[in-house]
């Protein structure tokens, strides 16, 4: 089926199979994907309710609101990243397989981004328009959110791996990840608000891209190490 008998299937085969498995699981339980998305939309509606319907104020606060809501929605979804695998014992099987754990961790993280980061990015234009952000800023918002959610998925996977078997894991995960996620929030929100104000914003996008590349090359290793430690 996958490669010749007697040979360890290649890394890409394994990565693809991990992705396929995770996506299939989300398909079977769409709530896992939709709940954070609804949460994102709801938090975004909370702000106009709390601040009053002044359009000027809303447009001014929009980048910050969207980014904070996205960060919280990502955190919410991160909690379940390794939880069910830990509960049903399949995580132990992954650890006991000869395939490098980094690849499996990367596969799971990529799947996490596809099912929670990407939907946020796709939903954001609608919210941005509701917040009266200028049309030209929407593209900036989408690219910044894309880069930022990739970083958050990667960074969050380390936290999720560290807290996987713990009783008070949920609250702890936010405590661990939020301070580390602040650069992403700063770069992301400031990029969008600079763009909305008509300033140059390229610096923020470059910083986000650099962060995403750095996270992509380092975080899977930390996640793999953390998974081994958590499962001892």
């Amino acid at each position: 089926m996958n490669g010749a008998a007697g040979q360890l299937p290649g890394l890409l085969v394994c990565l693809r199979a991990t992705l396929q498995r995770e996506l299939l699981l989300v398909l079977r339980r769409p709530g896992d994907m939709l709940n954070p998305l609804f949460f994102f939309a709801m938090v975004c509606t909370l702000f106009p309710l709390a601040m009053g319907p002044s359009e000027e104020q809303l447009a001014f606060a929009a980048p910050g609101v969207l980014w904070v809501a996205a960060l919280l929605a990502m955190l919410l979804s991160l909690n379940s990243l390794f939880l069910s695998d830990h509960a049903d014992g399949s995580l132990e099987q992954l650890l006991a397989s000869p395939q490098p754990l980094v690849v499996l961790a990367l596969g799971k993280t990529v799947a996490h981004w596809l099912t929670s980061g990407l939907p946020l990015v796709l939903l954001s234009p609608a919210l941005a328009m509701a917040f009266r952000l200028p049309a030209g800023t929407i593209w900036v918002l989408m690219s910044a959110l894309t880069l930022g959610t990739v970083s958050l998925s990667l960074l969050g996977s380390v936290g999720a791996a560290l807290t996987v078997g713990l009783h008070r894991g949920t609250a702890l995960l936010s405590l661990l990840i939020l301070p580390l996620a602040m650069p992403v929030l700063i770069f992301g929100a400031r990029t969008v608000s600079l763009s909305a104000a008509g300033d140059t914003y390229s610096m923020g996008l470059f910083a986000l891209a650099a962060y995403a590349v750095g996270a992509l090359s380092l975080a899977p290793f930390a996640t793999a190490a953390a998974l081994r430690i958590s499962n001892e």
Binding site: M1, G89, S90, Q93, A96, P98
Partner: protein, 204 residues
């Protein structure tokens, strides 16, 4: 090719408790190692230490005379572990679970359908695992051993949840594996009637 798994002066500490100290064994092709002892005596921990999930305090395992530490990927490619839990996703079907598993290890010539057929659960392959009984889930879990090209089988209480017919089937599968030159380390709290060369370790 003949294989050996040996343990040298193992000491394993879990939290505050020392599970065993200075444990040795040597297992060759065509042999079964039975781990006996009451609950909590460290059978599961020993299996987890072999597969590398637990770190030993002191001592080492050797595979074919070489430290496992220096050839982890080769060693894991040659082993498959059946844990206490089935370790598959309850939301996926048997064939989905197994086709994912098949990318984790080198494969045997036995494909998924054949394995499920032999274990008597082929007709259930399209059902999500959660809708199967505990015994049926266990049989699906056993298919992992059949599709993998692994010489070393590590089994933790494999007879749990199996009916008499299932136990006989499993006994047959284990003895076939061992007669074909495989190795098996099996933890069980009841006696196992497999007619193959057997070593026993009693953990206190």
């Amino acid at each position: 090719m003949s294989n050996t798994l040996s343990a040298h002066k193992l000491t394993l500490v879990r939290g505050e408790r020392c599970l065993f100290k200075g444990l040795n064994f040597a297992l060759g092709s065509g042999e079964l190692l039975l781990l006996e002892g009451r609950n909590g005596s460290g059978k599961t921990s020993l299996l987890k230490a072999i597969i590398g999930l637990l770190e030993l305090e002191t001592g080492e395992f050797q595979w074919n005379g070489m430290p496992v530490r220096s050839q982890r990927q080769e060693f894991l490619s040659a082993s498959v572990w059946m844990a206490h839990r089935v370790g598959m996703k309850p939301d996926l079907t048997a064939s989905e679970n197994l086709s994912f598993e098949s990318t984790l290890r080198p494969l045997n010539n036995c494909d998924i359908e054949e394995a499920l057929e032999r274990l008597g659960v082929l007709r259930l392959k399209k059902l999500p695992l959660r809708s199967l009984s505990a015994g049926q889930q266990r049989r699906v879990g056993l298919a992992r051993m059949l599709i993998a090209r692994a010489t070393l089988w590590l089994m933790d209480e494999p007879f749990t949840n199996l009916d008499r017919e299932g136990r006989d089937l499993l006994t047959g599968i284990i003895s076939d594996h061992i007669e074909a030159g495989g190795l098996c380390v099996l933890a069980a709290h009841q006696d196992v009637a497999v007619d193959v060369p057997t070593q026993r370790i009693l953990l206190e």
